[in-house]
Symmetry: C2
Subunit: 134 residues, 2 copies
């Protein structure tokens, strides 16, 4: 009986250990695995309207179709509309790797390759990874 109790206690301890590992893993995958990047793009001003059309379509489809694309929030500067900044958040690097092989990403990439004058990709760390947009 004593041995059996001890056995149960050990199973109990092992089980809580596994549970702790699971919840740590979950918290990690929800936040700290995120891939966050700032893309800075300068577009040929003459082709800006066409570029924006490609970008809008790519963003709408990616966010709708890919659960791991958490946001692609694109803005243009008010006084320099051909200077674009995109806040890109992916659930993890696998979601990003999958994203750049999708039909919608490749359509954007190939369609805009002669419109983009410069592209800077800045790997970033969020201050508050759970931050949303209301």
């Amino acid at each position: 009986m004593k041995n059996s109790n001890k056995g149960f206690r050990q199973i109990g301890i092992a089980a809580s250990g596994i549970l702790m590992m699971f919840s740590a893993e979950q918290a990690f995958s929800q936040n700290n695995n995120q891939m966050v990047r700032i893309a800075k793009i300068i577009v040929d001003p003459v082709q800006l309207e066409a570029y924006n059309g490609f970008l809008k379509e790519e963003i709408e489809e990616s966010v709708r179709l890919e659960p791991g694309v958490l946001t692609l929030y694109a803005v243009s500067e008010r006084t320099k509309p051909n200077h674009i900044t995109i806040l890109e958040i992916y659930a993890d690097s696998a979601a990003y790797k999958s994203h750049i092989q999708t039909r919608q990403f490749l359509k954007y990439k190939n369609g805009t390759k002669d419109m983009v004058k410069s592209l800077e990709l800045i790997e970033s760390v969020p201050l508050l990874p759970s931050m949303k947009i209301k």
Copy 2:
């Protein structure tokens, strides 16, 4: 009787006009009145930890307490952690004007004034104003 009918019809037309104005106004205030800005901040590296503490507290309180602060999404560059970018979205310019008079904003502003080496504020236009973070 004819005159009275005409009167009702006119009131009806005027009422639908007002309703149309209202719904246009609502759609507008939901999106197009938004004030969207990119803040680029370079922090004194020696004071970065203290700065991040002030910024984190200010963002958490502003987003929690102010309905018109839709997001303050802050990131630092992975290779230059003292280079901070913040995507700021306010419901409208009134929400922004109110924000910069709050206790939490003034605590941040006064607390960090000797930590900030440069601050650039870029008024921006969102490509898709209804974009969120999943």
